[in-house]
Amino acid sequence: MVQAGSIGLPYIAVRGLLGSDLLKYRSDLKVESNPFHPEERVVLAQPIRPDVAVFHALKADCWGNAVTPGLRDDLMLARAARRVIVTAEELTDHELTPQDAFQNTFLPAIDVDGVVHTPFGAHPCCCGLLYPVDDVHVKEYLNAARGEESFKAYLDQYVYSVRNEKEYLKKVGVIAQA
């Protein structure tokens, strides 16, 4: 589990799950006796340590401090991951502190490896209150994802045929055609 990964544990015991079919299919979950109460069965979960975690932030500074939208468990995931990349709507050379993250989530530079400036980088999803989900595009994506051929066509149109993020944003109408 991500929590175990974030604090460097070899495994973590979790409540519940006994009797769930998840245990049949998930090799990272095991049932053991609680060593402190041997009559009790508990589920043990393997730590999750992603190679890379990517977060899209409202803003980030040049040292790697970042503010991501809403109250979320981003810090737990950032600490579990071996490399952390932050993409941000806005870059600043003014140092961000936890006070800049009121009602949002603060990622301190010590847990971040790289920052990339990507305005509208969450498209077609939303970024806090800056812009909403692009429902029309998401619907198009969902339809395209139903089949091999249509998905390939989607990738051709929006990924392979554009040279960079900016061209993509122009193509989907988020920024004006130059």
Binding site: Q3, R15, G16, G19, E40, R41, L71, R72, Q103
Partner: protein
């Protein structure tokens, strides 16, 4: 005398039915994608449960934590959550819920987002109310295709709580702890016990306390469509617009 109202959406009905199950002074959690329980809890707070501690994922006003959803999960894991709400694409006769797949696990007809914390919350919240916006045989099945979280566990499994009720647009099913099965607790105005049984894919006994759901009162519906609607808009704007009617003029 209380004025009785008969014009409402199924979602409004379910929200009111849920609100009546919320008790004052309880500690209540509402998870993601749960607009009906959210409405029900805020309604209860407005009407009879002003001291309830209500925590709603996705809300700023109703989220007293510093962190994300893990805070609510850990609270449940500590055994401090009195009431939580879950759903399932299938719910079966043994109280099992399925949030994973329809059909075979490896070649499913439909793959769903999965359990998130359900397989812990179903054990650790003191009471769990299930909600489902359709009452059909494809939802209420004899045996779920995949047990995300079981209704019943052996005695040596630590479990704070479990299923208590299922609320649907037609009825309320109650969990019978001794018999380990669902009973028909109430049918909503406009439905009948026969109709509910017909649309349930397993045999359903009638509860000894069976009743027709008391009609929605003018006060309940007015509060839902004013104070609750206003708060709900900030959390579930699309749902609120589509399912909770604004108070009609006059």
């Amino acid at each position: 005398m209380t004025e009785i109202v008969s014009e409402y959406t199924p979602e409004e009905l379910m929200a009111v039915v849920i609100s009546r199950e919320v008790r004052d002074f309880e500690t209540i959690g509402v998870g993601a994608a749960s607009p009906i329980p959210t409405a029900g809890c805020i309604l209860a707070e407005q009407l009879h449960a002003p001291h309830a501690t209500i925590m709603i994922l996705g809300s700023k006003e109703y989220y007293p934590f510093l962190g994300g959803s893990s805070e609510l999960h850990f609270m449940a894991q500590r055994g401090e959550l009195d009431l939580f709400f879950l759903s399932g694409i299938q719910i079966d006769s043994k109280g099992n819920i399925n949030l994973h797949v329809l059909g075979d696990y490896f070649s499913p007809q439909m793959r769903l987002p999965g359990a998130y914390g359900s397989a812990m919350l179903y054990y650790m919240a003191h009471r769990v109310i299930l909600f489902r916006t359709e009452h059909t045989r494809r939802t209420f099945v004899e045996k779920v295709d995949f047990v995300t979280a079981p209704g019943v566990t052996p005695e040596n499994v630590y479990r704070e709580g479990g299923p208590t009720l299922v609320v649907t647009p037609k009825a309320v099913l109650a969990w019978d702890r001794t018999r380990k099965g669902w009973t028909l607790e109430a049918v909503h105005p406009g439905s009948t016990a026969e109709e509910v049984k017909e649309n349930t894919g397993f045999p359903l006994e009638i509860s000894s306390s069976f009743k027709i759901t008391p009609p929605l009162t003018e006060r309940e519906l007015r509060t839902l469509r004013t104070a609750v609607r206003e708060k709900l808009k900030g959390i579930y704007p699309d749902f609120t617009r589509a399912k909770i009617r604004p108070l009609s003029p006059g």
